[in-house]
């Protein structure tokens, strides 16, 4: 299905006049081909920034260091022209908001066929035919009508299906789905989960989401991020038995678990701590003085000093 994406010591800073923001802090992770990986965490945890860095879609004030290897090449060294060959063809994106991602002045058929014309060098007629086929694969009702409609004439579920078809149109090795269910009602969420499930059968996938249930349902591996760092990594059972107190907090804040809130994040966080010391019940003296490394515990990676004895330090 393609190659792994290997990230080594990735640091991403946003340079600002009133102080830089260190959005991703020394992250090293491997996204394995053949597995669906989910990155979860609250807003501002750095999950979307990490995903967008793979496609070099970060704003201009982003300073990126480290290495992102895909098919033996360091993506971070590629220029814009080379990246255009990778985006869509090798690694594609299913963007966050389908309404904002569709061009309101172009018919759906033309928007989908643009991908085939650009990436597959197909003629206009061929591209329209291919577009029809791919939309049919996503079980869109009345595809000819959909192709001749504008984005605003479609329902939320239909728009998400169209945007999802953009993701796999050029047959990429990897698809990155960024917050695919954000702001959607339960009915729509169920439909989108089905669509993503279908995509994950035909290509490697990275799902960035704050929806723990979606991650649990679709992903083979789950990474939990907080404050720019990976704090827990494991299989899809991670939420049934969370090891890190923050992951436990995320699980408890779900509606089905009584919505127990975690305290609001502090404005200024101490970089020499794990970031949740102010409210963690399991904290010890070392937690406020030193940033914990990752410990290997029961097949998982956990960034918490309470596993310093039982786990193996990485």
């Amino acid at each position: 299905m393609g190659s792994d994406i290997i990230i080594k010591n990735l640091n991403i800073k946003f340079l600002r006049k009133d102080g830089d923001i260190h959005a991703v802090k020394d992250v090293s992770v491997e996204f394995k081909a053949g597995q669906v990986t989910g990155i979860v965490g609250e807003s501002g945890s750095g999950k979307s920034v990490l995903g967008m860095s793979i496609l070099q879609l970060l704003p201009e004030n982003a300073e990126v260091s480290g290495k992102i290897t895909y098919s033996g090449m360091n993506i971070l060294l590629k220029n814009e022209k080379q990246m255009r060959e990778i985006r869509g063809n090798k690694i594609a994106l299913i963007p966050q908001s389908p309404s904002e991602s569709l061009n309101p002045s172009m018919k759906i058929g033309n928007q989908v066929s643009e991908i085939f014309r650009h990436h597959k060098r197909q003629s206009r007629h061929e591209a329209l035919k291919s577009s029809e086929c791919i939309l049919e694969e996503f079980h869109l009702l009345d595809v000819p009508r959909c192709m001749s409609s504008y984005g605003f004439q479609l329902s939320g579920g239909m728009k998400q299906r169209v945007v999802s078809s953009f993701g796999i149109a050029a047959n990429p090795h990897w698809v990155i789905a960024d917050e695919p269910t954000k702001g959607m009602d339960r009915v729509l969420e169920t439909q989108i989960t089905e669509v993503l499930g279908e995509i994950s059968k035909r290509t490697n996938m990275l799902i960035i989401t704050h929806n723990l249930m979606l991650a649990q349902e679709l992903c083979d591996r789950i990474i939990v991020m907080h404050n720019g760092c990976i704090i827990e990594k494991g299989d899809s059972n991670i939420f049934k038995n969370p090891l890190h107190p923050y992951t436990e907090g995320l699980v408890k804040s779900m509606p089905e678990n009584g919505m127990v809130p975690m305290p609001f994040a502090q404005q200024k966080q101490n970089n020499n701590s794990c970031g949740i010391c102010s409210w963690c019940h399991d904290k010890s003296d070392i937690c406020t003085m030193e940033k914990p490394p990752l410990f290997k515990v029961a097949g998982r990676l956990v960034r918490c000093f309470q596993y310093a004895q039982s786990g193996k330090r990485l």
Binding site: E42, S43, G44, G156, K182, G183, D185, R186, V187, L188, H210, N211, L212, G249, L250, S253, M254, P255, E256, G258, M259, V260, P261, M262, P263, F264, Q267
Partner: protein, 238 residues
């Protein structure tokens, strides 16, 4: 506190061939002071239309909305301005509720300036007080809405509403754009504010679990009619 009597609303659509789309059909309900009532329904069923009618942003075709004993359609201009202070609304997307060209401080001062309330010094001290009430630091005040997170923006929207001392707040999908951890934080904050300030809430949401957790009484809007789902005693804070 709020009484809705036989409200009807129909939208007209089509330019060449006019069609009528009935949205609200004989809606009547009552919300007593100090409690939270939930309003559920599928997307497009008319929940937000009802909210806009309650707050006076949209006129009903017929029926009455009575707030604190007065029919809101009969209020004069000055009375309506006072009424708007008492009844406020929190929208789904906090980022689009704040003016992107204004700092957080300017955004928070604006309602008091429009309502011509307090002196400039008093306005600033109220802003500082309310931003603390929602658990935020005053160093956010000079930032712009794009420079804060979604959860922070929604708390700013709440703090801005509180500057007017409302007694009734409509929460129109206030957490659907936020992640689950922030959703739990915001709903917990709303519950605490309700206990402290004796606020009355109408929570509009499509998430049954959220509505059941947050409210004491729930209504379901389906095919333009309102169905009472549940009526329980106050469930208490988490």
């Amino acid at each position: 506190m709020l009484k809705v009597e036989n409200v009807y609303k129909t939208y007209n659509s089509g330019i060449v061939k006019r069609r009528q789309l009935p949205v609200l059909n004989d809606i009547s309900f009552e919300i007593p002071s100090g409690i939270s009532v939930g309003l559920m329904g599928d997307s497009g069923c008319g929940k937000s239309t009802l909210a806009r009618i309650l707050i006076g942003l949209l006129n009903a075709d017929s029926g009455r909305v009575i707030f604190d004993g007065r029919d809101i359609s009969e209020l004069s201009g000055i009375e309506k301005k006072k009424f708007r202070r008492k009844m406020q609304i929190v929208f789904q997307n906090p980022e689009s509720s704040l003016n992107p060209r204004m700092t957080i401080l300017q955004n928070m001062l604006e309602p008091m300036i429009i309502q011509k309330l307090y002196s400039t010094t008093e306005q600033k001290s109220i802003v500082l007080e309310k931003i603390k009430t929602v658990g935020l630091s005053d160093n956010l005040l000079l930032r712009y809405p794009r420079e804060i997170s979604g959860g922070e923006a929604q708390r700013i929207v709440l703090a801005r509403i509180l500057t007017l001392n409302p007694s009734f707040i409509i929460l129109d999908e206030p957490t659907s754009m936020l992640d689950m951890s922030v959703q739990a934080q915001i709903l917990d904050l709303l519950k605490r504010l309700q206990a402290e300030l004796n606020l009355t809430y109408l929570l509009i949401s499509h998430d049954k679990r959220v509505v059941e957790w947050f409210t004491e009484q729930t209504y379901l809007l389906k095919n333009g009619t309102l169905h009472k789902e549940r009526s329980e005693k106050h469930k208490g804070l988490s």
